[in-house]
Symmetry: C2
Subunit: 323 residues, 2 copies
Protein backbone atom coordinates (compact mmCIF):
# COMPACT_ATOMS: atom_id res chain seq x y z
CA UNK A 1 0.00 0.00 0.00
CA UNK A 2 1.54 3.22 -1.24
CA UNK A 3 0.57 6.74 -0.31
CA UNK A 4 0.29 8.95 -3.35
CA UNK A 5 3.46 10.82 -2.43
CA UNK A 6 5.30 12.76 -5.11
CA UNK A 7 9.08 12.66 -5.34
CA UNK A 8 11.04 14.96 -7.62
CA UNK A 9 14.59 14.26 -8.73
CA UNK A 10 17.12 16.15 -10.77
CA UNK A 11 19.78 14.34 -12.78
CA UNK A 12 22.42 15.83 -15.02
CA UNK A 13 23.41 14.58 -18.42
CA UNK A 14 26.90 13.26 -19.11
CA UNK A 15 29.32 13.20 -21.98
CA UNK A 16 31.23 9.99 -22.64
CA UNK A 17 34.98 10.24 -23.09
CA UNK A 18 35.44 6.51 -23.51
CA UNK A 19 32.36 5.66 -25.52
CA UNK A 20 29.57 3.17 -24.99
CA UNK A 21 28.81 1.92 -28.51
CA UNK A 22 27.24 -1.49 -28.67
CA UNK A 23 25.24 -3.83 -26.47
CA UNK A 24 25.84 -7.44 -25.63
CA UNK A 25 22.31 -7.72 -24.23
CA UNK A 26 19.60 -5.59 -25.85
CA UNK A 27 17.03 -6.26 -23.16
CA UNK A 28 19.15 -5.74 -20.04
CA UNK A 29 21.23 -3.06 -21.80
CA UNK A 30 24.59 -4.60 -21.02
CA UNK A 31 27.34 -2.85 -22.96
CA UNK A 32 30.11 -4.52 -24.91
CA UNK A 33 32.75 -2.38 -23.21
CA UNK A 34 33.14 -0.25 -20.13
CA UNK A 35 32.92 3.51 -20.60
CA UNK A 36 33.90 6.72 -18.82
CA UNK A 37 32.04 10.02 -18.71
CA UNK A 38 31.86 13.49 -17.25
CA UNK A 39 28.57 14.60 -15.69
CA UNK A 40 27.76 18.18 -16.76
CA UNK A 41 26.44 20.97 -14.55
CA UNK A 42 24.24 23.04 -16.86
CA UNK A 43 22.21 20.32 -18.52
CA UNK A 44 19.74 18.30 -16.52
CA UNK A 45 16.27 16.82 -16.30
CA UNK A 46 13.80 17.24 -13.43
CA UNK A 47 11.22 14.53 -13.01
CA UNK A 48 8.35 14.10 -10.57
CA UNK A 49 6.73 10.72 -10.03
CA UNK A 50 3.54 9.89 -8.15
CA UNK A 51 2.19 6.35 -7.86
CA UNK A 52 -1.54 6.55 -7.40
CA UNK A 53 -3.99 3.64 -6.97
CA UNK A 54 -6.71 5.75 -8.53
CA UNK A 55 -4.94 5.97 -11.88
CA UNK A 56 -6.03 3.51 -14.56
CA UNK A 57 -2.95 4.10 -16.73
CA UNK A 58 0.52 5.58 -16.50
CA UNK A 59 0.75 9.18 -17.64
CA UNK A 60 3.83 10.92 -18.93
CA UNK A 61 4.26 14.66 -19.53
CA UNK A 62 7.49 16.09 -20.93
CA UNK A 63 7.88 19.87 -20.91
CA UNK A 64 4.14 20.11 -20.25
CA UNK A 65 3.26 18.03 -23.32
CA UNK A 66 1.56 14.67 -22.94
CA UNK A 67 3.73 11.97 -24.46
CA UNK A 68 3.46 8.39 -25.58
CA UNK A 69 3.93 6.52 -22.32
CA UNK A 70 5.07 3.10 -23.54
CA UNK A 71 8.82 3.41 -22.86
CA UNK A 72 8.19 5.04 -19.49
CA UNK A 73 5.67 2.33 -18.58
CA UNK A 74 8.14 -0.40 -19.47
CA UNK A 75 10.61 1.26 -17.12
CA UNK A 76 8.02 1.77 -14.37
CA UNK A 77 7.15 -1.93 -14.63
CA UNK A 78 10.70 -2.71 -13.48
CA UNK A 79 10.26 -0.36 -10.51
CA UNK A 80 6.81 -1.80 -9.65
CA UNK A 81 8.19 -5.30 -9.75
CA UNK A 82 11.06 -4.37 -7.39
CA UNK A 83 8.65 -2.56 -5.02
CA UNK A 84 5.94 -5.18 -5.37
CA UNK A 85 3.26 -2.61 -6.19
CA UNK A 86 0.63 -2.37 -8.92
CA UNK A 87 -0.31 1.32 -8.94
CA UNK A 88 0.01 3.33 -12.10
CA UNK A 89 2.03 6.54 -11.98
CA UNK A 90 2.04 10.13 -13.17
CA UNK A 91 5.41 11.27 -14.47
CA UNK A 92 6.14 14.97 -15.10
CA UNK A 93 9.49 15.77 -16.67
CA UNK A 94 11.19 18.98 -17.62
CA UNK A 95 14.30 18.90 -19.72
CA UNK A 96 16.93 21.52 -19.08
CA UNK A 97 19.07 19.87 -21.71
CA UNK A 98 18.63 21.76 -24.97
CA UNK A 99 17.07 18.97 -27.02
CA UNK A 100 18.98 20.31 -29.99
CA UNK A 101 22.34 19.98 -28.30
CA UNK A 102 22.93 16.33 -28.93
CA UNK A 103 23.68 16.06 -25.25
CA UNK A 104 21.97 12.75 -24.59
CA UNK A 105 18.89 13.88 -22.71
CA UNK A 106 17.97 10.19 -22.30
CA UNK A 107 20.85 9.89 -19.81
CA UNK A 108 19.56 12.62 -17.50
CA UNK A 109 15.94 11.60 -18.16
CA UNK A 110 16.28 8.00 -17.04
CA UNK A 111 18.61 8.84 -14.15
CA UNK A 112 16.05 11.33 -12.80
CA UNK A 113 13.20 8.89 -13.42
CA UNK A 114 15.06 6.07 -11.68
CA UNK A 115 15.63 8.18 -8.57
CA UNK A 116 12.15 9.76 -8.40
CA UNK A 117 10.25 6.58 -9.29
CA UNK A 118 12.16 4.33 -6.91
CA UNK A 119 11.59 6.76 -4.02
CA UNK A 120 7.92 7.23 -4.92
CA UNK A 121 7.52 3.45 -4.99
CA UNK A 122 8.92 3.23 -1.49
CA UNK A 123 12.27 1.75 -2.46
CA UNK A 124 15.50 2.81 -0.76
CA UNK A 125 18.11 1.96 -3.37
CA UNK A 126 21.82 2.47 -2.84
CA UNK A 127 23.70 4.18 -5.64
CA UNK A 128 24.88 1.05 -7.44
CA UNK A 129 21.29 -0.23 -7.42
CA UNK A 130 20.00 3.11 -8.72
CA UNK A 131 22.66 3.01 -11.41
CA UNK A 132 21.59 -0.50 -12.46
CA UNK A 133 17.97 0.62 -12.54
CA UNK A 134 18.71 3.74 -14.63
CA UNK A 135 20.69 1.54 -17.04
CA UNK A 136 17.53 -0.37 -17.89
CA UNK A 137 16.01 2.82 -19.30
CA UNK A 138 19.02 4.01 -21.26
CA UNK A 139 22.54 2.67 -20.96
CA UNK A 140 24.28 5.99 -20.47
CA UNK A 141 21.77 6.96 -17.74
CA UNK A 142 23.55 4.66 -15.29
CA UNK A 143 26.45 7.11 -15.32
CA UNK A 144 24.27 10.15 -14.56
CA UNK A 145 23.53 8.82 -11.07
CA UNK A 146 26.95 10.24 -10.09
CA UNK A 147 28.62 13.60 -10.51
CA UNK A 148 32.02 14.34 -12.03
CA UNK A 149 33.96 11.56 -13.67
CA UNK A 150 32.14 8.25 -13.80
CA UNK A 151 33.04 4.77 -14.98
CA UNK A 152 30.39 2.32 -16.14
CA UNK A 153 31.78 -1.15 -15.72
CA UNK A 154 30.39 -3.33 -18.48
CA UNK A 155 29.86 -6.32 -16.21
CA UNK A 156 28.34 -9.53 -17.46
CA UNK A 157 24.78 -9.49 -16.09
CA UNK A 158 22.22 -7.17 -14.53
CA UNK A 159 23.97 -7.30 -11.14
CA UNK A 160 27.49 -6.54 -12.33
CA UNK A 161 26.76 -3.80 -14.88
CA UNK A 162 26.65 -0.42 -13.09
CA UNK A 163 28.57 2.83 -12.74
CA UNK A 164 30.67 4.36 -9.97
CA UNK A 165 32.54 7.62 -9.52
CA UNK A 166 36.20 8.09 -10.43
CA UNK A 167 38.31 10.57 -8.51
CA UNK A 168 38.75 13.88 -10.32
CA UNK A 169 42.42 14.92 -10.16
CA UNK A 170 43.23 18.05 -8.18
CA UNK A 171 43.61 21.12 -10.38
CA UNK A 172 41.67 19.39 -13.16
CA UNK A 173 39.12 22.09 -13.86
CA UNK A 174 37.55 20.34 -16.82
CA UNK A 175 35.08 22.21 -18.97
CA UNK A 176 33.12 21.16 -21.98
CA UNK A 177 32.16 23.44 -24.84
CA UNK A 178 29.37 22.13 -27.05
CA UNK A 179 29.05 23.45 -30.58
CA UNK A 180 25.52 22.97 -31.90
CA UNK A 181 25.90 22.16 -35.57
CA UNK A 182 22.53 20.73 -36.41
CA UNK A 183 19.14 20.75 -34.80
CA UNK A 184 17.75 18.19 -37.24
CA UNK A 185 16.54 14.94 -35.82
CA UNK A 186 19.22 12.37 -36.48
CA UNK A 187 18.40 9.81 -39.15
CA UNK A 188 20.05 6.95 -37.33
CA UNK A 189 19.40 6.81 -33.58
CA UNK A 190 22.14 5.73 -31.16
CA UNK A 191 20.25 2.51 -30.60
CA UNK A 192 20.08 1.71 -34.33
CA UNK A 193 23.61 2.92 -35.04
CA UNK A 194 25.29 0.82 -32.36
CA UNK A 195 23.19 -2.20 -33.29
CA UNK A 196 24.22 -1.98 -36.93
CA UNK A 197 27.86 -1.60 -35.95
CA UNK A 198 27.80 -4.63 -33.64
CA UNK A 199 26.15 -6.72 -36.34
CA UNK A 200 28.08 -5.62 -39.42
CA UNK A 201 31.35 -3.77 -38.78
CA UNK A 202 34.41 -5.92 -39.49
CA UNK A 203 36.22 -3.69 -36.99
CA UNK A 204 33.86 -4.21 -34.07
CA UNK A 205 35.73 -6.83 -32.07
CA UNK A 206 38.87 -4.73 -32.22
CA UNK A 207 36.90 -1.68 -31.05
CA UNK A 208 35.97 -3.54 -27.90
CA UNK A 209 39.56 -4.55 -27.21
CA UNK A 210 40.86 -1.10 -28.06
CA UNK A 211 38.36 0.61 -25.76
CA UNK A 212 39.42 -1.58 -22.87
CA UNK A 213 42.99 -0.37 -23.40
CA UNK A 214 41.81 3.23 -23.73
CA UNK A 215 39.96 3.00 -20.43
CA UNK A 216 43.01 1.70 -18.59
CA UNK A 217 45.17 4.39 -20.20
CA UNK A 218 42.77 7.24 -19.43
CA UNK A 219 42.53 6.17 -15.79
CA UNK A 220 46.33 6.14 -15.65
CA UNK A 221 46.35 9.68 -17.11
CA UNK A 222 43.85 10.74 -14.43
CA UNK A 223 45.98 9.20 -11.70
CA UNK A 224 48.95 11.12 -13.06
CA UNK A 225 47.11 14.45 -13.37
CA UNK A 226 47.90 14.39 -17.08
CA UNK A 227 45.23 16.41 -18.87
CA UNK A 228 46.96 16.24 -22.26
CA UNK A 229 46.96 12.44 -22.36
CA UNK A 230 43.44 12.39 -20.91
CA UNK A 231 42.27 14.59 -23.80
CA UNK A 232 44.18 12.75 -26.50
CA UNK A 233 42.76 9.39 -25.46
CA UNK A 234 39.23 10.86 -25.36
CA UNK A 235 39.57 12.25 -28.87
CA UNK A 236 41.08 9.08 -30.31
CA UNK A 237 38.42 6.92 -28.68
CA UNK A 238 35.69 9.09 -30.24
CA UNK A 239 37.33 8.85 -33.65
CA UNK A 240 37.51 5.06 -33.36
CA UNK A 241 33.78 5.02 -32.59
CA UNK A 242 32.99 7.15 -35.65
CA UNK A 243 35.32 4.98 -37.72
CA UNK A 244 33.14 2.00 -36.75
CA UNK A 245 30.12 3.71 -38.28
CA UNK A 246 31.99 4.30 -41.53
CA UNK A 247 32.91 0.61 -41.60
CA UNK A 248 29.37 -0.69 -41.02
CA UNK A 249 27.13 -2.19 -43.69
CA UNK A 250 25.49 -0.05 -44.90
CA UNK A 251 28.03 2.54 -43.80
CA UNK A 252 26.85 5.72 -42.10
CA UNK A 253 28.31 8.77 -40.44
CA UNK A 254 27.07 11.46 -38.09
CA UNK A 255 29.69 13.93 -39.33
CA UNK A 256 28.51 17.05 -41.14
CA UNK A 257 30.72 19.51 -43.05
CA UNK A 258 30.69 21.83 -40.03
CA UNK A 259 31.74 18.96 -37.75
CA UNK A 260 34.92 18.64 -39.81
CA UNK A 261 35.37 22.42 -39.79
CA UNK A 262 35.10 22.51 -35.98
CA UNK A 263 37.44 19.54 -35.55
CA UNK A 264 40.05 21.33 -37.67
CA UNK A 265 39.65 24.48 -35.56
CA UNK A 266 40.36 22.44 -32.43
CA UNK A 267 43.41 20.86 -34.07
CA UNK A 268 44.57 24.36 -35.00
CA UNK A 269 44.14 25.56 -31.41
CA UNK A 270 46.31 22.70 -30.21
CA UNK A 271 49.06 23.81 -32.59
CA UNK A 272 48.82 27.19 -30.81
CA UNK A 273 49.43 25.46 -27.49
CA UNK A 274 45.86 25.23 -26.18
CA UNK A 275 45.06 21.84 -24.67
CA UNK A 276 41.66 21.07 -26.15
CA UNK A 277 40.21 17.87 -27.54
CA UNK A 278 37.01 17.01 -29.35
CA UNK A 279 34.51 14.24 -28.98
CA UNK A 280 31.31 13.51 -30.91
CA UNK A 281 28.40 11.20 -30.16
CA UNK A 282 25.52 9.99 -32.29
CA UNK A 283 25.16 13.36 -34.01
CA UNK A 284 27.15 16.09 -35.75
CA UNK A 285 27.66 18.35 -32.72
CA UNK A 286 31.24 18.76 -31.59
CA UNK A 287 32.03 18.83 -27.89
CA UNK A 288 35.37 20.15 -26.78
CA UNK A 289 37.04 19.14 -23.55
CA UNK A 290 39.37 21.78 -22.17
CA UNK A 291 40.55 23.41 -18.96
CA UNK A 292 38.64 26.32 -17.44
CA UNK A 293 41.45 28.77 -18.21
CA UNK A 294 41.07 28.15 -21.97
CA UNK A 295 37.27 28.34 -22.21
CA UNK A 296 37.04 31.96 -23.30
CA UNK A 297 39.56 31.62 -26.15
CA UNK A 298 37.78 28.58 -27.54
CA UNK A 299 34.31 30.09 -27.13
CA UNK A 300 35.49 33.19 -28.98
CA UNK A 301 36.84 31.26 -31.93
CA UNK A 302 33.74 29.07 -32.19
CA UNK A 303 31.44 32.07 -31.83
CA UNK A 304 33.25 33.89 -34.61
CA UNK A 305 33.02 30.89 -36.92
CA UNK A 306 29.55 29.59 -36.13
CA UNK A 307 27.66 32.28 -34.15
CA UNK A 308 27.68 32.65 -30.38
CA UNK A 309 24.17 31.16 -30.05
CA UNK A 310 25.61 27.84 -31.22
CA UNK A 311 28.14 27.62 -28.39
CA UNK A 312 27.28 26.18 -24.96
CA UNK A 313 29.62 25.81 -22.01
CA UNK A 314 29.44 23.41 -19.09
CA UNK A 315 31.67 22.04 -16.39
CA UNK A 316 31.63 19.12 -13.99
CA UNK A 317 28.16 18.58 -12.52
CA UNK A 318 26.66 16.93 -9.42
CA UNK A 319 25.12 13.53 -8.77
CA UNK A 320 21.43 12.86 -9.25
CA UNK A 321 19.50 14.13 -6.21
CA UNK A 322 16.03 14.72 -4.85
CA UNK A 323 14.77 18.29 -4.88
CA UNK B 1 76.26 -1.66 -75.33
CA UNK B 2 73.18 0.48 -75.79
CA UNK B 3 72.48 2.87 -78.61
CA UNK B 4 71.24 6.20 -77.30
CA UNK B 5 67.74 5.46 -78.56
CA UNK B 6 64.82 7.33 -77.09
CA UNK B 7 61.58 5.56 -76.26
CA UNK B 8 58.44 7.41 -75.28
CA UNK B 9 55.56 5.80 -73.40
CA UNK B 10 52.15 6.98 -72.32
CA UNK B 11 50.45 5.51 -69.26
CA UNK B 12 47.10 6.45 -67.76
CA UNK B 13 46.35 6.90 -64.12
CA UNK B 14 43.90 4.67 -62.31
CA UNK B 15 41.42 4.96 -59.50
CA UNK B 16 41.23 2.15 -56.96
CA UNK B 17 37.79 0.76 -56.13
CA UNK B 18 39.16 -1.85 -53.75
CA UNK B 19 41.92 0.14 -52.10
CA UNK B 20 45.60 -0.53 -51.64
CA UNK B 21 46.33 0.83 -48.14
CA UNK B 22 49.34 -0.72 -46.47
CA UNK B 23 52.52 -2.54 -47.38
CA UNK B 24 53.87 -5.79 -46.07
CA UNK B 25 57.27 -5.02 -47.64
CA UNK B 26 58.32 -1.37 -47.84
CA UNK B 27 61.29 -2.00 -50.11
CA UNK B 28 59.67 -4.32 -52.66
CA UNK B 29 56.30 -2.54 -52.31
CA UNK B 30 54.27 -5.65 -51.63
CA UNK B 31 50.75 -4.74 -50.51
CA UNK B 32 48.89 -6.21 -47.58
CA UNK B 33 45.83 -6.90 -49.72
CA UNK B 34 44.91 -7.24 -53.37
CA UNK B 35 43.21 -4.26 -54.99
CA UNK B 36 41.07 -3.44 -58.01
CA UNK B 37 41.09 -0.31 -60.14
CA UNK B 38 39.78 1.44 -63.22
CA UNK B 39 42.31 2.98 -65.60
CA UNK B 40 41.12 6.43 -66.73
CA UNK B 41 41.22 7.85 -70.25
CA UNK B 42 41.79 11.58 -69.76
CA UNK B 43 44.59 11.55 -67.23
CA UNK B 44 48.01 10.26 -68.23
CA UNK B 45 51.75 10.80 -68.18
CA UNK B 46 54.09 10.75 -71.18
CA UNK B 47 57.70 9.89 -70.49
CA UNK B 48 60.75 9.67 -72.76
CA UNK B 49 63.88 7.82 -71.68
CA UNK B 50 67.30 7.79 -73.30
CA UNK B 51 70.21 5.84 -71.84
CA UNK B 52 73.41 7.55 -72.92
CA UNK B 53 76.97 6.45 -72.11
CA UNK B 54 78.09 10.07 -72.34
CA UNK B 55 75.97 11.14 -69.39
CA UNK B 56 77.71 11.37 -66.05
CA UNK B 57 74.46 11.46 -64.08
CA UNK B 58 70.77 10.68 -64.52
CA UNK B 59 68.65 13.69 -65.42
CA UNK B 60 64.94 14.09 -64.80
CA UNK B 61 62.66 16.80 -66.18
CA UNK B 62 58.98 16.97 -65.30
CA UNK B 63 56.80 19.41 -67.24
CA UNK B 64 60.03 21.05 -68.49
CA UNK B 65 61.35 21.63 -64.99
CA UNK B 66 64.50 19.92 -63.79
CA UNK B 67 63.71 17.79 -60.76
CA UNK B 68 65.53 16.03 -57.98
CA UNK B 69 66.54 12.78 -59.63
CA UNK B 70 67.03 10.49 -56.64
CA UNK B 71 63.73 8.53 -56.79
CA UNK B 72 63.98 8.18 -60.56
CA UNK B 73 67.61 7.02 -60.27
CA UNK B 74 66.67 4.41 -57.70
CA UNK B 75 64.07 3.12 -60.14
CA UNK B 76 66.47 3.25 -63.11
CA UNK B 77 68.99 1.24 -61.09
CA UNK B 78 66.47 -1.63 -61.06
CA UNK B 79 66.15 -1.36 -64.86
CA UNK B 80 69.93 -1.14 -65.35
CA UNK B 81 70.44 -4.20 -63.21
CA UNK B 82 67.88 -6.20 -65.22
CA UNK B 83 69.40 -5.03 -68.53
CA UNK B 84 72.96 -5.35 -67.28
CA UNK B 85 73.91 -1.83 -68.37
CA UNK B 86 75.61 1.04 -66.60
CA UNK B 87 74.65 4.09 -68.70
CA UNK B 88 72.94 7.02 -67.10
CA UNK B 89 69.68 8.23 -68.58
CA UNK B 90 67.73 11.34 -69.45
CA UNK B 91 64.08 11.21 -68.46
CA UNK B 92 61.55 13.76 -69.77
CA UNK B 93 58.04 13.53 -68.38
CA UNK B 94 54.87 15.45 -69.01
CA UNK B 95 51.91 14.99 -66.73
CA UNK B 96 48.46 15.22 -68.23
CA UNK B 97 47.05 14.44 -64.82
CA UNK B 98 46.02 17.70 -63.14
CA UNK B 99 48.42 17.61 -60.23
CA UNK B 100 45.67 19.16 -58.13
CA UNK B 101 43.18 16.40 -58.88
CA UNK B 102 44.39 13.91 -56.35
CA UNK B 103 44.40 11.41 -59.16
CA UNK B 104 47.57 9.60 -58.22
CA UNK B 105 49.97 10.88 -60.86
CA UNK B 106 52.61 8.54 -59.40
CA UNK B 107 50.65 5.61 -60.88
CA UNK B 108 50.78 6.91 -64.45
CA UNK B 109 54.29 8.30 -63.92
CA UNK B 110 55.92 5.03 -62.89
CA UNK B 111 53.93 2.96 -65.40
CA UNK B 112 55.13 5.21 -68.23
CA UNK B 113 58.67 5.23 -66.85
CA UNK B 114 58.71 1.44 -66.53
CA UNK B 115 57.65 0.97 -70.16
CA UNK B 116 59.91 3.66 -71.68
CA UNK B 117 62.95 2.84 -69.55
CA UNK B 118 62.75 -0.92 -70.05
CA UNK B 119 62.49 -0.48 -73.84
CA UNK B 120 65.28 2.09 -73.89
CA UNK B 121 67.46 -0.30 -71.90
CA UNK B 122 66.90 -3.01 -74.50
CA UNK B 123 64.57 -5.13 -72.38
CA UNK B 124 61.51 -6.83 -73.86
CA UNK B 125 59.31 -7.30 -70.83
CA UNK B 126 55.95 -9.02 -70.97
CA UNK B 127 53.07 -7.26 -69.24
CA UNK B 128 53.31 -9.06 -65.89
CA UNK B 129 57.03 -8.22 -65.79
CA UNK B 130 56.32 -4.59 -66.68
CA UNK B 131 53.68 -4.52 -63.96
CA UNK B 132 56.15 -5.87 -61.38
CA UNK B 133 58.72 -3.31 -62.48
CA UNK B 134 56.25 -0.39 -62.28
CA UNK B 135 55.25 -1.59 -58.81
CA UNK B 136 58.79 -0.94 -57.57
CA UNK B 137 58.33 2.77 -58.33
CA UNK B 138 54.87 3.18 -56.85
CA UNK B 139 52.53 0.37 -55.85
CA UNK B 140 49.49 1.58 -57.75
CA UNK B 141 51.58 2.03 -60.93
CA UNK B 142 51.54 -1.74 -61.47
CA UNK B 143 47.82 -1.42 -62.29
CA UNK B 144 48.35 1.35 -64.87
CA UNK B 145 50.15 -1.06 -67.19
CA UNK B 146 46.66 -2.24 -68.22
CA UNK B 147 43.52 -0.47 -69.40
CA UNK B 148 40.01 -0.80 -68.01
CA UNK B 149 39.45 -2.82 -64.87
CA UNK B 150 42.61 -4.18 -63.30
CA UNK B 151 43.34 -6.41 -60.32
CA UNK B 152 46.64 -6.23 -58.47
CA UNK B 153 47.18 -9.53 -56.77
CA UNK B 154 49.02 -8.92 -53.54
CA UNK B 155 51.28 -11.95 -53.93
CA UNK B 156 53.97 -12.79 -51.41
CA UNK B 157 57.21 -11.78 -53.12
CA UNK B 158 58.52 -9.73 -56.05
CA UNK B 159 57.60 -12.45 -58.54
CA UNK B 160 54.02 -13.00 -57.41
CA UNK B 161 52.92 -9.39 -56.85
CA UNK B 162 51.65 -7.93 -60.15
CA UNK B 163 48.48 -6.78 -61.87
CA UNK B 164 46.34 -8.21 -64.66
CA UNK B 165 43.20 -7.08 -66.46
CA UNK B 166 39.69 -8.04 -65.41
CA UNK B 167 36.95 -8.35 -68.01
CA UNK B 168 34.70 -5.29 -68.18
CA UNK B 169 31.07 -6.43 -68.29
CA UNK B 170 29.16 -5.68 -71.50
CA UNK B 171 27.02 -2.56 -71.23
CA UNK B 172 29.10 -1.37 -68.28
CA UNK B 173 29.87 2.12 -69.50
CA UNK B 174 31.62 3.23 -66.34
CA UNK B 175 32.52 6.86 -65.91
CA UNK B 176 34.27 8.67 -63.13
CA UNK B 177 33.55 12.24 -62.08
CA UNK B 178 36.27 13.84 -59.96
CA UNK B 179 35.36 16.78 -57.76
CA UNK B 180 38.43 18.85 -56.95
CA UNK B 181 37.96 20.06 -53.39
CA UNK B 182 41.42 21.12 -52.43
CA UNK B 183 44.57 21.93 -54.31
CA UNK B 184 46.64 22.10 -51.14
CA UNK B 185 49.48 19.70 -50.79
CA UNK B 186 48.33 16.96 -48.48
CA UNK B 187 49.89 16.98 -45.04
CA UNK B 188 50.13 13.20 -44.79
CA UNK B 189 51.32 11.46 -47.94
CA UNK B 190 49.85 8.10 -48.98
CA UNK B 191 53.11 6.48 -48.04
CA UNK B 192 53.09 7.97 -44.52
CA UNK B 193 49.36 7.46 -44.04
CA UNK B 194 49.32 3.79 -44.90
CA UNK B 195 52.47 3.18 -42.86
CA UNK B 196 50.92 4.77 -39.78
CA UNK B 197 47.75 2.76 -40.23
CA UNK B 198 49.61 -0.55 -40.58
CA UNK B 199 51.66 0.23 -37.47
CA UNK B 200 48.99 1.69 -35.19
CA UNK B 201 45.37 1.04 -36.20
CA UNK B 202 43.67 -1.56 -34.00
CA UNK B 203 41.40 -2.23 -36.99
CA UNK B 204 44.12 -2.98 -39.51
CA UNK B 205 44.08 -6.77 -39.53
CA UNK B 206 40.32 -6.71 -40.03
CA UNK B 207 40.71 -4.27 -42.91
CA UNK B 208 42.90 -6.78 -44.71
CA UNK B 209 40.41 -9.60 -44.21
CA UNK B 210 37.48 -7.38 -45.11
CA UNK B 211 39.15 -6.17 -48.32
CA UNK B 212 39.73 -9.74 -49.42
CA UNK B 213 36.01 -10.36 -49.08
CA UNK B 214 35.23 -7.10 -50.89
CA UNK B 215 37.43 -8.11 -53.79
CA UNK B 216 35.70 -11.46 -54.18
CA UNK B 217 32.30 -9.80 -53.93
CA UNK B 218 33.09 -7.05 -56.45
CA UNK B 219 34.36 -9.60 -58.96
CA UNK B 220 31.14 -11.54 -58.50
CA UNK B 221 29.18 -8.32 -59.13
CA UNK B 222 31.20 -7.78 -62.31
CA UNK B 223 30.56 -11.33 -63.46
CA UNK B 224 26.85 -10.72 -62.89
CA UNK B 225 26.77 -7.34 -64.65
CA UNK B 226 25.55 -5.81 -61.40
CA UNK B 227 26.61 -2.15 -61.37
CA UNK B 228 24.70 -1.32 -58.19
CA UNK B 229 26.53 -3.92 -56.10
CA UNK B 230 29.80 -3.00 -57.82
CA UNK B 231 29.30 0.62 -56.76
CA UNK B 232 28.14 -0.16 -53.24
CA UNK B 233 31.15 -2.35 -52.54
CA UNK B 234 33.48 0.33 -53.94
CA UNK B 235 32.00 2.99 -51.70
CA UNK B 236 32.02 0.81 -48.59
CA UNK B 237 35.60 -0.26 -49.21
CA UNK B 238 36.66 3.39 -49.47
CA UNK B 239 34.86 4.23 -46.24
CA UNK B 240 36.59 1.35 -44.45
CA UNK B 241 39.92 2.73 -45.64
CA UNK B 242 39.11 6.21 -44.34
CA UNK B 243 37.86 4.66 -41.11
CA UNK B 244 41.32 3.13 -40.67
CA UNK B 245 42.88 6.59 -40.76
CA UNK B 246 40.48 7.81 -38.07
CA UNK B 247 41.48 4.83 -35.92
CA UNK B 248 45.23 5.34 -36.25
CA UNK B 249 47.48 6.78 -33.57
CA UNK B 250 47.67 9.70 -33.93
CA UNK B 251 44.40 9.70 -35.83
CA UNK B 252 44.13 11.59 -39.09
CA UNK B 253 41.65 12.12 -41.88
CA UNK B 254 41.76 13.36 -45.45
CA UNK B 255 38.11 14.47 -45.32
CA UNK B 256 37.34 18.18 -45.65
CA UNK B 257 33.96 19.83 -45.02
CA UNK B 258 33.32 19.86 -48.78
CA UNK B 259 34.15 16.14 -49.00
CA UNK B 260 31.25 15.47 -46.63
CA UNK B 261 29.05 17.87 -48.58
CA UNK B 262 29.80 16.07 -51.85
CA UNK B 263 29.28 12.63 -50.29
CA UNK B 264 25.86 13.73 -49.07
CA UNK B 265 24.98 15.01 -52.56
CA UNK B 266 25.84 11.58 -53.99
CA UNK B 267 23.73 9.87 -51.31
CA UNK B 268 20.88 12.23 -52.21
CA UNK B 269 21.21 11.38 -55.91
CA UNK B 270 20.92 7.70 -55.07
CA UNK B 271 17.65 8.39 -53.25
CA UNK B 272 16.49 9.92 -56.54
CA UNK B 273 17.31 6.67 -58.32
CA UNK B 274 20.69 7.55 -59.83
CA UNK B 275 23.26 4.78 -59.41
CA UNK B 276 26.34 6.68 -58.29
CA UNK B 277 28.92 5.87 -55.65
CA UNK B 278 31.83 7.79 -54.19
CA UNK B 279 35.38 6.90 -53.41
CA UNK B 280 38.20 8.95 -51.90
CA UNK B 281 41.94 8.36 -51.75
CA UNK B 282 44.69 10.04 -49.76
CA UNK B 283 43.09 13.46 -50.16
CA UNK B 284 39.79 15.31 -49.85
CA UNK B 285 38.71 15.04 -53.50
CA UNK B 286 35.60 12.99 -54.12
CA UNK B 287 35.45 10.70 -57.13
CA UNK B 288 32.09 9.42 -58.24
CA UNK B 289 31.63 6.19 -60.15
CA UNK B 290 28.55 6.17 -62.36
CA UNK B 291 27.24 5.04 -65.72
CA UNK B 292 27.69 7.21 -68.80
CA UNK B 293 23.96 7.96 -69.01
CA UNK B 294 24.03 9.68 -65.61
CA UNK B 295 27.17 11.79 -66.09
CA UNK B 296 25.46 15.01 -67.12
CA UNK B 297 23.01 15.06 -64.19
CA UNK B 298 25.82 14.53 -61.69
CA UNK B 299 28.14 17.05 -63.35
CA UNK B 300 25.34 19.63 -63.26
CA UNK B 301 24.66 19.18 -59.58
CA UNK B 302 28.36 19.29 -58.66
CA UNK B 303 28.93 22.30 -60.91
CA UNK B 304 26.07 24.17 -59.28
CA UNK B 305 27.38 23.40 -55.80
CA UNK B 306 31.12 23.76 -56.29
CA UNK B 307 31.73 25.50 -59.65
CA UNK B 308 32.13 23.75 -63.00
CA UNK B 309 35.90 24.25 -63.03
CA UNK B 310 36.12 21.86 -60.08
CA UNK B 311 34.45 18.98 -61.92
CA UNK B 312 36.41 16.59 -64.16
CA UNK B 313 35.02 13.63 -66.08
CA UNK B 314 36.78 10.50 -67.29
CA UNK B 315 35.92 7.03 -68.48
CA UNK B 316 37.74 3.76 -68.95
CA UNK B 317 41.21 4.29 -70.41
CA UNK B 318 43.75 2.21 -72.35
CA UNK B 319 46.83 0.23 -71.35
CA UNK B 320 50.27 1.81 -71.17
CA UNK B 321 51.76 2.00 -74.67
CA UNK B 322 54.68 3.37 -76.66
CA UNK B 323 54.00 6.46 -78.73
Amino acid sequence: MINATTYTARAHTNIALIKYWGKKDEDLILPMNSSLSLTLDHFYTETSVTFDEKLSDDLFFLDNQKQDVSNVSTFLDIVRKKANIQSKAQVYSTNYVPSTAGLASSASAYAALALAASKAAGLELDKPSLSRLARRGSGSACRSIYGGLVEWQAGFDDETSFAYPIKMPNNFEICMIALIISTNHKKISSRMGMKRVVETSPYYSNWVESSKKDLLAIKKALAENDFKTFGEISEENAMKMHALNMSAHPHFSYLEPDSIKAMKIVEGLRLQGISCYYTLDAGPNVKVICLKKDVSSIVNIFSNSFGHEKVLVASSGPAAHLI
